[in-house]
Amino acid sequence: FSPRMATGMQEKQYTPSLLNFFIYNPKFGPREGEEEKKILFYHPSDVEKNEKIRNVGLCEAIVQFTRTFCPSKPAKSLHTQKNRQFFFEPEENFWIVMVLCMFILNYICAEFIDTVYGAVLQQCYSMYKLFNGTFARAMEAGGVELLTQKLEKFFYRYLQTLHLQSCDLLDVFGGISFFPLDKMTYLKIQSFVNRVEESLSLIKYTAFLYNDQLIWSGLEQDDMRILYKYLTTSLFPRHSEPELAGRDSPLRPEVAGNLLHYGRFLTGPSNLKDPEAKFRFPKIFVNTDDSYEELHLIVYKAMSAAVCFMISASEELGREFCEQLDGLVGPQLTLLASDICEQYNINRRVSGSEPQFKFIYFNHMNLAEKSTIHMRKTASVSLTSVHPDLMKILGDIHADFVRVDEDEEIIVKAMTDYWVVGKKSDQRELYVILNQKNANLIEVNEEVKRLCATQFNNIFFLD
C-alpha cells in the first residue's frame, strides 16, 4: 500500500480553454523568410502572420532543444504561468501543438493534466486520420495544398466540438464500453453479421453496437477505438436528440416486402423513399500502417441496435445497393434488437440491481472500460456524478500507475469522508470511490475486496 493524504486541495476550478491549435512541418520552410510555409494549419486563423510564425518557431525551438537531452522522447508539454502547450509528432516531422489557457493548479494534478490533454491531442489526430488518412498520403496525392485544405476543413469544425473542461480519466483510456450479453444472443449476432457479409459481399468489415456499447468489431482494435469514439460522441448523440425531441419521427416502421422493420440509415440517405435521396457516405481510413484502406462508412440502426458496414471506397454505392441492404438488414436487425433487449432485461433481473459502488474499470488489453461514475454521454458534455476534485485524485493515481510497471494498489483518504482506491493488476486498472464515514484503512480494503469478488469474479485480479 502507499496510502497518501491528498491535502491542500485548492478549491479553485480549472476551466481550460483553447488558445491555439496549430500544425506545422519544419521541413517545409527551412530558409529564412519562408517560415510561413511551415504552417499547415493555425487556429484561430485571424491571428497575425508574424505571431503565428513566432509561436511555431518557439515550439520548434523547444522541441529541438529538449531533444538534446533525450532524443527518443522529445518534449510533450510546456508549462508556463498561464498556459500549457502540448506537442505531438504523429508522423515524421509533422507536429501538432495545442495551447490551453488554464490557471495554476496544485502540483499534484499537474502530471495528470499532461496525461489528459496529451491524450486529447492524440485523439484529435486519430480522428483526423480516421476521416482523412495520414498527412503523408495527402502530401503524396496533392501536395501541401491538398493537406492544408483537408486540415482546414476538418479542424475548423472539430475544434469547436472539443469540450476541454469535461475531459478526464476516460479520455486518457479512450476505452470501449462493451455491451454485456449472454453467449447465445452473442452467437446470434455473429450469425447475423456473417450472413449479411455473405450476401452483400461488398461489405468488408462490420461492427455491431447496442445501446451505444460495442458487441462486435470486424475492424482491428485501434481503428475500432477511434470509430467508437466518433460514433458514441458525435454520430449517435446527433441522431438521438431529434429522436428524443420527437422530430422527424424515425420510429415509424418501414415495410420491406411483408416485414415490418425499424431500420434506417444514420449515414447516407435519410429517407430511401425520397426520390432526391443522396447516396453519399462518409469515408474512413483504416489499417493506415499496412494495407491503408479507404472505406465507405454505412451506419444503420434499428431501435437500439446499430451496425456499421464498411465497404471499399472504390465501390460505387447507389440506390439499388441501399435498398437491398435496407430490405435485408432492416427486418433481421429489428428482430435481433428486440431479442437483445429481452435477453438484457432477463439478465438484469437475474443479476439484480446495479451496484452501489462508484468505480471506473479499464483493461488495456481489450480497451474495455466501465464506469459507474459517468452518466450518459451526450454530444455536448459528459457528466460525472462525483466532485471534480475526486476525479483529479483518480487521475493522480493513474499517473502513479503509469510510472511503475508492477502491479500496485493505492488507497487515498480524501478530505470529504471519501476514500479513493486505485488498483492495478496486470493490464487492468480499477478505481473505486467509497463514501464511508469513520471507515479505516482495513475496512476500506475489505470493501474493495468484496467489490472485486462480486463485480469482477470472472477475471483474474490479484489481491
Partner: protein
C-alpha cells in the same frame, strides 16, 4: 440418368424354381418364405427365405391341390389347406410324429378363405362366415378352439408384423373389421368404412383386396387404400388414402397421397416410405408421410421426387439352357407377372425370384434441391449417416452465395436429432442410477440411429477437412464454424474442445487474433484447462492471450496450481504467493519452488520476503521457523544466511 434411379432391387434375391404346370409357388408374408410345391408335394416341397441361405426341402403326400401352405413361426408346424373346409397340419419339431392331422372349420356350411399363423402354435381360420382362433397341440395332434367370431367376410388381409387381420364385410366390401391377436387373445377393434369413389351400380363388391394393403409406417399401423377414380370424372388421377389404425379408438383417414395419373398400381413400404409402382409408365412414386407440403392442405402429399423407374436389373438366364457362365440379361421390370407383397417384397414367380425393394439415398441428393427438405428426408432414413455427411461437405465446398442461412438450417436439423438422442440417453442413465423402477418395465437404452450425427462425426468427416480447404475464403470457414457452434448452443449441447481448437487454429492461421479475443471475451469458446493452455502458447504472437488464459483458469476455479505456475514463470513470485494465499492454499505449497523462483529474479528484497513468509509458515504449522529436510531448502537457507546474516533468521521460540 442412371444416377437418378432411387429405387433398386436387392443384389442377392431369393431364387426358387419358377412356377409352372407342375410347380406351384406360394408366398408366406409372415415368415417371408417361398414354397415351391411340385406335384402337390409328392415330388417335393422346397421352402426358401427370407434370405437365400436357409432352405428346407421335404416331401408330403399328394392329397389334392394345395391352396395355401405356411409354416408357423420358427418352422415348427406346417399348415396346408387343400379343401375349402379344413386345414391339415404336419409337425416339424423333432421327437414328434410327422404324420398329418386335420382340422375342419367349426362353422357349418362355411368355406375357409385362408388361415394365418399368429405364433408358433396359434392359428386363425378365416371363413366366409367369420374367424376361428385355434391353439395347435402338436403332441396331441389336435387343435383347441380359443375364440371365434361370426361375421360375413368377403376377403381378408393379414399384417404379420402386428398380428392384425382385416376382414372385408358388407355387400360393397368397404367396411373393414380389424382383429388383433396376441398370446391367445383375440380382440375386436373398431370397424371403419373405406370411402369409395362415387358408385354408379351398387350392390356388388366394389372394394377389391388388391387395392388394400396394411403396413407399419413410422411405427404406426396404416391401412393403405388405392383409390381409383372413374375416368369419366374430371379427377386428376388416382390416390392412395391412408387410414391410421390404432389399438384404441376409431380408425381415421389420415393421409392422401396424390398420384396424378391412372392405371394399375402396386404398393410397397420401404424405410417408412410409401412406394407406388405404376405399371403402364414403368415408374414408381415415392411418398414420405412426414414431409409436409407447405403449399397444400395438411396431409395431402405429392411425391417427394419425380417418378423414376427401378434401377435396371440383370438376371442370369434360367431354364435348362442356363448352364455354365451365362451373360446376364436385363430383367423385365414392372412385369405383369410380378406380385408385390408388404412391406418391401417383389416376386416374379415366372422367373423364380424374390427381391427386396431398396431405396438408394445418393440419387435423392441431386433430385431434391431444397436442402432443408432433403435433410429432413435423409434424417428419417435408416442408412443415412454417410449420405448426410457427404451432403454437408458438398454444401460447404461450393460456398455458394447466400448459403449460410441454409447451412444454419441444416445444422439445426442435425442438432435437433442429436439433442433428442442425448436427452434420451441422459434420462436413461439417470433412471439406471436411480435403481430399478417400481414398475416391471426395465429401462430401455435409447437406440442410436444413424441420424444421430454428433460433433465427432461432423469434425472428422466434414469440418476438419473443410477448414483445410484453400479455395474457400477464411471468412466463410469461420462463419460456418461459428454457425455450428451457435447451433449446438441453441440446442444446449456442450461443445467439444476439438471444435474450439479448430476455431482457434483457423483464426490464428489467418491472424485474426482480435476476433479470437472478442469470442473469448463473450465466452463463446467455453472455459477449459486445455483451452487455457492453448491460449498460453499463443502469448508470443498475441500478448493479450496471457490475460485471457489467466482469466479462464481463474473462472475454472480448479486450476489454482496452473495459475501459480504461470505467475512463477513470469517471475511474479509475490503475485503467485498472494494468489495462493487468497484461495487458502498457501499451507500446502512447496517452499522450494517459490524460493527457487525468487532467487531467479535476482531481487534480494523479494527473496527476503518470500523466505520470511515461509519461516512464518513453518512457525505457525510446526512451531519452529526451520525448514524440514524434506523441503530441500538447505541451499536457500545457506544463501539467506550469506546474504542477510545469521541474525536475520527468525529465532525459534522456546517456551
Amino acid at each position: 440418368m442412371s444416377e437418378e434411379h432411387y429405387l433398386e432391387l436387392c443384389d442377392s434375391p431369393v431364387q426358387f424354381e419358377n412356377a409352372s404346370s407342375v410347380n406351384n409357388v406360394f408366398f408366406d408374408e409372415a415368415n417371408k418364405q417361398v414354397f415351391a410345391v411340385r406335384s402337390g408335394g409328392a415330388t417335393g416341397v422346397v421352402v426358401k427365405g427370407p434370405d437365400d441361405k436357409n432352405s428346407i426341402a421335404f416331401r408330403m403326400e399328394d392329397k389334392g391341390e394345395v391352396k395355401c401352405i405356411k409354416f408357423s413361426y420358427e418352422n415348427k408346424i406346417l399348415a396346408v389347406q387343400r379343401s375349402p373346409k379344413s386345414v391339415d397340419f404336419i409337425n416339424f419339431m423333432p421327437d414328434l410324429p410327422h404324420s398329418e392331422f386335420s382340422q375342419e372349420c367349426k362353422t357349418k356350411n362355411a368355406t375357409v378363405l385362408g388361415f394365418c399363423w399368429t405364433s408358433w402354435n396359434e392359428i386363425v381360420f378365416i371363413t366366409d362366415q367369420g374367424v376361428e382362433f385355434y391353439q395347435v397341440l402338436p403332441d396331441k395332434r389336435s387343435l383347441k378352439l380359443l375364440k371365434s367370431h361370426s361375421i360375413n367376410v368377403n376377403w381378408y388381409v393379414y399384417c404379420p408384423e402386428t398380428s392384425v387381420i382385416l376382414l372385408s364385410t358388407t355387400v360393397q366390401g368397404n367396411v373393414l373389421q380389424p382383429f388383433a391377436f396376441k398370446c391367445g387373445t383375440m380382440s375386436k377393434m373398431s370397424k371403419f368404412e373405406i370411402e369409395l369413389p362415387v358408385v354408379t351400380k351398387p350392390a356388388k363388391i366394389i372394394l377389391s383386396e388388391r387395392d388394400i394393403a396394411v403396413a407399419t409406417i413410422y411405427g404406426q399401423l396404416y391401412v393403405m387404400y388405392l383409390k381409383h377414380h372413374s375416368r369419366t370424372g374430371n379427377n386428376p388421377g388416382a390416390e392412395v388414402v391412408l387410414y391410421h389404425l390404432q389399438r384404441e379408438g376409431a380408425c381415421k383417414r389420415s393421409h392422401i397421397l396424390k398420384l396424378n395419373t391412372t392405371g394399375k398400381f402396386a404398393l410397397n413400404v420401404v424405410d417408412n416410405l410409401v412406394i407406388v409402382h405404376h405399371q403402364s409408365s414403368q415408374t414408381s412414386f415415392m411418398f414420405d408421410i412426414k414431409m409436409k407440403d407447405t403449399d397444400s392442405n395438411l396431409n395431402i402429399h405429392q411425391p417427394v421426387l419425380p417418378a423414376r423407374s427401378i434401377h435396371p436389373y440383370k438376371i442370369a438366364l434360367t431354364g435348362p439352357a442356363a448352364v455354365g457362365s451365362q451373360t446376364p440379361v436385363p430383367c423385365e421390370l414392372y412385369s405383369s407377372t410380378w406380385s408385390v407383397f408388404q412391406p418391401d417384397i417383389i416376386i416374379s414367380a415366372s422367373e423364380g425370384y424374390l427381391w427386396y425393394l431398396q431405396v438408394k439415398l445418393k440419387p435423392v441428393v441431386s433430385l431434391l434441391q431444397d436442402k432443408s427438405k432433403l435433410m429432413e428426408f435423409l434424417l428419417r432414413r435408416r442408412d443415412c449417416k454417410m449420405v448426410i455427411l457427404s451432403v454437408c461437405s458438398q454444401m460447404l465446398s461450393r460456398g455458394d452465395k447466400g448459403s449460410l442461412p441454409v447451412v444454419a438450417i441444416v445444422f439445426d436439423k442435425l442438432n435437433q436429432v442429436y439433442k433428442e438422442y442425448l436427452e434420451a440417453e441422459q434420462s436413461y442413465t439417470m433412471a439406471v442410477e436411480c435403481g430399478p423402477s417400481r414398475g416391471s418395465t426395465a429401462h430401455k437404452r435409447p437406440v442410436r440411429t444413424q441420424a444421430v450425427i454428433d460433433q465427432s462425426d461432423m469434425y472428422t468427416h466434414v469440418l476438419s477437412l473443410f477448414t483445410e480447404r484453400k479455395d474457400v475464403s477464411h471468412k466463410f470457414i469461420i462463419a460456418v464454424l461459428m454457425e455450428y457452434i451457435r447451433s449446438l448452443n441453441q440446442f444446449q449441447i456442450t461443445v467439444q474442445h476439438y471444435l474450439y481448437e479448430l476455431v482457434i487454429k483457423t483464426l490464428v492461421q489467418h491472424n485474426l487474433l482480435y476476433m479470437l479475443h472478442q469470442f473469448l471475451q463473450y465466452h463463446v469458446l467455453s472455459d477449459s484447462k486445455p483451452l487455457a493452455c492453448l491460449l498460453l502458447s499463443l502469448e508470443s504472437t498475441y500478448p493479450p492471450a496471457h490475460q485471457l488464459s489467466l482469466d479462464m483458469l481463474k473462472r475454472l476455479s480448479t486450476a489454482n496450481d496452473e495459475i501459480v505456475e504461470v505467475l512463477l514463470s513470469k517471475q511474479q513470485v509475490l503475485g503467485a504467493l498472494r494468489f495462493i494465499r487468497s484461495v487458502g492454499g498457501h499451507d500446502n505449497i512447496s517452499a522450494r519452488k517459490f524460493l527457487d523462483a525468487a532467487r531467479q529474479t535476482k531481487d534480494q528484497m523479494l527473496f527476503y520476503t518470500i523466505f520470511r513468509f515461509f519461516e512464518q509458515r513453518n512457525q505457525r504449522l510446526r512451531g519452529s521457523p526451520n525448514f524440514t529436510p524434506g523441503e530441500h531448502c538447505e541451499e536457500h537457507v545457506a544463501y539467506f544466511k550469506q546474504a542477510f546474516g545469521e541474525q536475520a533468521f527468525i529465532k525459534p521460540v522456546t517456551l
